[in-house]
């Protein structure tokens, strides 16, 4: 906010007005951010209160109780479902990144018959609504015996991630000059070797962005897991949370909220660490498709 001092003195009166309005604006933004984040902060404080504490009008009342977290982390069902979430999100991320890197390279580098049409078809999938697709998929997965397995969830998450991941990778490969592959070819590398050994390492930042965003998206998925998983041992943390909410009896909200806080952590932490990858991804996904 110190930029203003470099302006000409003749317009001082107008600038101070602008300066003052900037201070008001800054404080307004601070207040809005505080209001927006308040439910999360309030939830975090509540998660450290003993079970049965009830409505907390004072954030610090009730001391700093770790029992909710201790109980959750020593509940096999909870740990197992966190593990399931991790395996499915990670597996989905790996397949998404691999398939998107390959397809992105093909679409970004080569001209081949049907290129434009195939890319449009792939991107159109992003517009398919989730639940509409999950009802027939439930039937298909049941018929094939794939319901309630890691495999179907990993494939579903990959299918959700691949179209957008491919789009990101197309842009990435186009920004890498072709000289290196030409040089590799001269040195006798096959097209696959040139892709795998020369281009892919250069595309590492793009691959990381695709993997991280897809992982968080998968971690946060609720609907696909709700529809396709049925046994307690296979459910993800999000579906487990939903069951927990429905089964909760009495005044035990503190425990439920502690579970929410633990489960939201990976998404929030990865977002804060890789903020730019997420923001760029959102913009490209929405405005450039």
């Amino acid at each position: 906010m110190a930029v203003i001092s470099t302006q000409a003195p003749s317009s001082v009166a107008r600038l101070t007005l602008r300066q003052r309005s900037n201070v008001v604006l800054f404080l307004t933004l601070a207040l809005v951010s505080l209001i927006v984040i308040f439910p999360v902060i309030y939830a975090i404080f509540t998660s450290f209160k003993p079970r049965g504490f009830g409505l907390a009008r004072d954030l610090l009342a009730g001391g700093f109780y770790l029992g909710n977290y201790e109980l959750l982390l020593s509940t096999p069902r909870f740990v197992r479902q966190i593990f399931n979430s991790f395996v499915m999100s990670f597996g989905g991320g790996v397949i998404t990144t691999t398939a998107a890197a390959m397809a992105g390279y093909a679409f970004g580098r080569f001209s081949f018959r049907g290129r434009t049409v195939l890319l449009s078809i792939l991107l159109a999938v992003m517009m398919l609504p989730g639940l509409t697709n999950l009802i027939p998929l439930y039937k298909i997965a049941s018929d094939l015996g794939l319901r309630d397995t890691y495999l179907i969830m990993i494939l579903v998450y990959a299918a959700y991630g691949i179209p957008f991941g491919t789009w990101v990778m197309v842009g990435f490969f186009r920004s890498i000059p072709t000289d290196l592959e030409e040089a590799a070819k001269v040195d006798g590398a096959t097209p696959f070797q040139a892709f795998w050994l020369v281009v892919l390492p250069l595309a590492a930042p793009g691959l990381t962005a695709v993997f991280i965003t897809n992982f968080v998206y998968n971690w946060n998925d609720f609907l696909a897991a709700l529809v396709l998983l049925s046994s307690t041992a296979m459910k993800t943390a999000m579906v487990g949370l939903f069951d927990f909410q429905n089964q909760l009896t009495g005044n035990n909200n503190e425990l439920l909220i502690a579970a929410c806080v633990l489960i939201m952590l990976p998404g929030v932490v990865l977002f804060v660490l890789f903020r730019n990858a997420f923001l760029r991804g959102m913009l490209e996904g929405a405005l450039k498709g």
Binding site: F26, S33, A99, T178, N220, V239, N253, V268, K288
Partner: protein
């Protein structure tokens, strides 16, 4: 580079195999399912009877109305708040990065975590917001009141989506060069005139895209309803997506559920077509 035989096709094969199996095939299969009835494990062809049943049920129109009400409030309010926030962020005050990160955190929470937190905040006797807001609305119990429950879901959806909408509008605002504003200021334009004659016409296309994206989200929103109200009280928040979920996956009326899915598919397709057209014709990125 020119094509080298089959190499590019080999590269795109895994992507198309996965997407084909998980996305394309089920969508086509839902058309098949919608023409059948599934009773006691028996599959019988019933033609368009499921669609007839949908169009003749009062429940469908009530769900459609609820979806529209939900969408209208969610889209218009999100747009209003997002626009104001984007205008504020566009002033480039400095040190606002931390605010941006903060308001994005709700977007990184899953629907179910958002839903549980909001439900808890409005639980009678335990909820802070129930206690805080109830005197302003005639002491109602929000979750036990038809409009109140819908209001909580609308609020939760806005809370989670606001930053995303803001980011898109901000991107639109940033394509306007500062020279345009300076020229207008020299010509003595007032703040309101600048907004109305310069800013608005230039961000109109982006705004339209945001409206369509939010509408798509509104039509398909399911998780927040399931976790906050589960369609209740009664069926007061049973929007189309919740109705579809219940018919197909709670009552196992696959044919009927699939027919609803086909209807939803076309609603989505129309919105998506308008969205893509808007992007092609209006947005030059």
């Amino acid at each position: 580079m020119r094509a080298r035989g089959l190499f590019p096709y080999v590269l795109i094969l895994p992507a198309f195999a996965v997407v084909g199996f998980i996305s394309f095939y089920p969508t086509l299969y839902s058309f098949f399912l919608s023409l059948h009835s599934f009773r006691r494990g028996q599959q019988t062809f019933v033609g368009l009877r499921n669609f007839e049943q949908i169009l003749n049920s009062a429940g469908f129109y009530e769900s459609l109305r609820l979806t529209l009400v939900y969408g209208l409030f969610f889209v218009s309010l999100t747009l209003l708040f997002a626009f104001l926030l984007a205008l504020a962020f566009n002033r480039k005050l400095g040190y606002t990065g931390v605010f941006m990160t903060t308001i994005f955190i709700p977007w990184m929470l899953s629907e179910i975590v958002t839903g549980i937190i909001f439900r808890w905040l409005f639980l009678p006797g335990y909820g802070l917001l129930q206690e805080l807001f109830s005197p302003l609305f005639g002491n109602i119990t929000f979750l036990g009141h038809p409009q109140g429950a819908m209001g909580v879901v609308v609020g939760a959806t806005i809370w989670r989506t606001l930053a995303f909408a803001m980011l898109l509008i901000l991107a639109g605002l940033q394509t306007i060069s500062s020279e345009v504003y300076e020229a207008a200021a020299i010509d003595g334009a007032t703040g309101w005139q600048i907004f109305w004659y310069i800013t608005w016409p230039l961000v109109r296309p982006t705004t339209l895209v945001v409206v369509l994206l939010l509408s798509l989200q509104a039509v398909n929103s399911t998780g927040l309803f399931l976790s906050i109200t589960n369609g209740g009280p009664g069926r007061a928040t049973e929007v189309l997506s919740v109705m579809m979920y219940r018919e197909a996956l709670v009552f196992f009326n696959f044919g009927y559920g699939a027919a609803l899915a086909v209807v939803m598919f076309f609603v989505n397709a129309i919105l998506a077509a308008v969205y893509l057209r808007t992007m092609r014709s209006e947005i030059v990125v």
